[in-house]
Amino acid sequence: MSAVVALPHEPIEEWKLPSRGIVGMACLIVAESAIFIIFVVAYLFYIGKSLTGPTPREVLEIPWFASVCLLSSSITVHFAVHSLRSAKVNLCAVWLAATVLLGGIFLAATAMEWYDLIYHFGLTVRTNLFGTTFYSLVGLHASHVLVGLFMLGLTLVFALMGKVNQHHAERLEVISIYWHFVDAVWIVVFTVVYIVGR
């Protein structure tokens, strides 16, 4: 190769590229959305096609309280990121604890709902198409809540141990984006399962 010659060129303006953490999480969210879309389509397609009972109208109750808890946890996680950015680590830990608590309430409510459905109404994955699609879609979402709670809980533990500082704000933001996604998916699942499907 010939010798490198300095070219007369205009000075390159400041070279700024997006954060790879946020881009990576955005990609994951696109991929996860596609998975959810397929499960939602299957749910919608099979509404009313069960050959035997129980039907959604007979057994499902609208989980208002749990939904409000989950959706408000989006606000608390936002404040957690915000306070970490301005270096208020203790405040961040408080907001994180609130987020984990609200998410935990949501999961507990789902667990109680499932207990009821299984033991009082005898609805399992095997019972009918409603059971198959309901447990798959709600379970897929619940497993995402579980993953989110694990990550937030871990951050909370680190914060309490004093190992989190302002420089970690962007990483916490990546987790918070995931958590907002989980909440947004719940709006769709809630609408499909408890409003349209009932």
Binding site: S19, G24, A31, R126, L129
Partner: protein
């Protein structure tokens, strides 16, 4: 004394050997991971190629009993699944892994550890699929590979119709390799958007990188639906669910939709990297810059979007009704527009160029011609009434093999001859390459040109044998004889890869006098790729360096 030497030398040697194994197993270097992807894909290419050869021996003459019907079902299932998931995807991801960071002037991928994880999880998927040969019947210890076909239509995959574990191995291996694919795609997007060297604007990125960006975007929205469908199938098989259980109101057609929502964009996931190689190789050997760079980018993005709306042309014979048939015929025809733009741009790049017929260029020219023919039979099949006649016949098999072999595999061979010097520091033998090209192109045309004819004469796909009075015998014999040429050519290629590694001509950093950044570093590149992160001013940074008196930047 002698024993003492033995004692001291052999552990040292062993440690040396172990050191190399450990080095490769624990590496997070994008180049090493890329090479492992490629090596792993080549091993599976040979295995799945051998399966194809066995099938062609069985079909060479009527009433043949070379393999049993059950074995034949396993062969075509394993051949299809392996070629798509464990040859096509990994080889393309391998080249992407190797080339994308080098071409954008980065030192590694955005997430090196995720990269290693994606590779190993995908490799595990492939092993799991073949482990079914030993464990497909579970505790009975009798091996049965999956035999449900590569698109595994319901309700054949239900527990009742596919007892044992062979179908579970199929489902799990695809599910697992899908996780790896999504990880790698995520990595490629993050690398492309966040790791470019100064001056490497999106409008200056090599077209290969652009195409890998589109492919990775497609992976998110196509592999994920497949993953979802596989989860549903697992729920059906293990938890007694009813997603695809027609006895309980479930729908077999829903599986078809979910599978082909993955299945058709998957074709574009495989063919766009082939386009990507052509975009780099054709200009270099025409000694001209690519014609119509913005049109090429637009066409690639356009193909990405349109490819999401054509899936049900695989289902014309299901009976979807006039509306869907018309829509999917239309959308399938529309996709030939951006593809046509690409072909014209490649031709315009060749036009008036100083064409060098090196081995990579020969394969690229073969690709251009064969991809055009494959596209033409594709337009024929997009017409739904025509498809009703020839759906699930050997005409369809010939059509998609024309794409997969005639276009994609030819461009993969071309890419090997083009980038092997960069990866190893040695040139592949041009003489053996010429033999490889001519034998392969003869074998290819014998097999896949003549395969259209038994299809038109009514020979259905996936039959293990046929009667002698159908008029298919001579065509099948010709088709099978072509397979022999292709096998010999592939063996020459493998020999060339191995022999040239040890005694090939030294390549130097830039053997082709090319223009993209990977040729500015040594061959093979050091683990950090670039001692100084480069700065670019145009789409052909090396042209600018070699011709400072007339840099590209003045004309873009």
């Amino acid at each position: 004394m002698a024993t003492q030497i033995q004692v001291t030398v052999s552990p040292a040697l062993r440690r040396d050997w172990l050191y190399h194994v450990q080095d490769w197993v624990t590496t997070v270097d994008h180049k090493k991971i890329g090479l492992m992807y490629i090596a792993y894909a080549l091993i599976f290419l040979v295995i799945a190629g051998a399966e194809a050869l066995l099938m062609r021996i069985q079909l060479a003459v009527p009433n043949n009993t070379f393999v049993a019907p059950q074995t034949f079902n396993r062969l075509f299932t394993m051949h299809g699944t392996t070629m798509v998931f464990f040859v096509g995807m990994p080889i393309l991801f391998g080249f992407g892994n190797y080339l994308v960071p080098l071409m954008i002037g980065a030192r590694d991928m955005a997430f090196p550890r995720l990269n290693a994880f994606s590779f190993w999880v995908a490799a595990f998927g492939g092993l799991l699929l073949y482990f079914s040969y030993f464990a497909g019947s579970g505790l009975y210890g009798a091996g049965t590979a999956p035999d449900v076909g590569w698109f595994a239509y319901a309700p054949l995959t239900a527990r009742v119709f596919s007892p044992g574990h062979s179908t579970d191995y199929w489902t799990l291996s695809i599910l697992i390799s899908g996780i790896g694919s999504i990880g790698t795609a995520l990595n490629i997007v993050a690398t492309t958007l966040c790791m470019r060297c100064p001056g490497m604007k999106l409008s200056r990125m090599p077209l290969l990188v652009w195409l890998y960006l589109v492919v990775s975007g497609l992976v998110f929205v196509t592999i994920s639906p497949l993953t979802a469908a596989q989860i549903m199938l697992l729920i059906d098989r293990y938890l007694g669910g009813h997603f695809f259980d027609t006895q309980a109101g479930g729908s077999a057609v829903l599986w078809m939709h979910f599978f082909w929502i993955f299945g058709h964009p998957e074709v574009y996931i495989l063919v766009l990297p082939a386009f990507a190689f052509a975009n780099e190789i054709i200009p270099v050997f025409s000694r001209k810059a690519i014609f119509g760079y913005p049109a090429m980018v637009a066409a690639s993005v356009g193909i990405g979007f349109v490819s999401l709306s054509v899936w049900a042309h695989h289902m014309f014979t299901v009976g979807m009704g006039a509306g869907p048939n018309a829509f999917f015929t239309f959308s399938t025809m529309v996709i030939s527009v951006p593809t046509g733009i690409k072909i014209f741009n490649w031709l315009a790049t060749l036009w008036g160029g100083n064409i060098h017929f090196t081995t990579p260029m020969k394969f690229a020219i073969g690709f251009l011609f064969q991809f055009l023919v494959a596209g033409l039979t594709g337009i024929m099949l997009s017409v739904s009434p025509f498809d009703w006649q020839l759906g699930s016949s050997y005409f369809v098999v010939a059509h998609f093999h024309y794409v997969l072999v005639g276009a994609i595999l030819f461009m993969i061979f071309s890419a090997f001859y083009y980038w092997y010097p960069k990866m190893t520091g040695r040139m592949l033998s041009e003489k053996l390459g010429t033999w490889h090209f001519w034998l392969f192109i003869i074998g290819f045309h014998l097999t896949f040109d003549f395969m259209h004819i038994p299809g038109i004469l009514g020979m259905p796909r996936r039959i293990y044998t046929y009667e002698a009075d159908r008029g298919w015998e001579i065509w099948n014999l010709i088709v099978s004889s072509g397979a022999i040429f292709q096998t010999i050519a592939t063996l020459i290629f493998v020999y060339n890869l191995v022999a040239s590694y040890f005694k090939g001509e030294k390549a130097g950093p830039d053997p082709w006098d090319a223009w993209t950044l990977e040729w500015s570093t040594s061959s093979p590149p050091p683990s950090y790729n670039f001692a100084i992160i480069p700065t670019v001013e145009s789409r052909r940074p090396l042209w600018d360096r070699k011709h400072p008196e007339e840099p590209d930047a003045h004309y873009e």
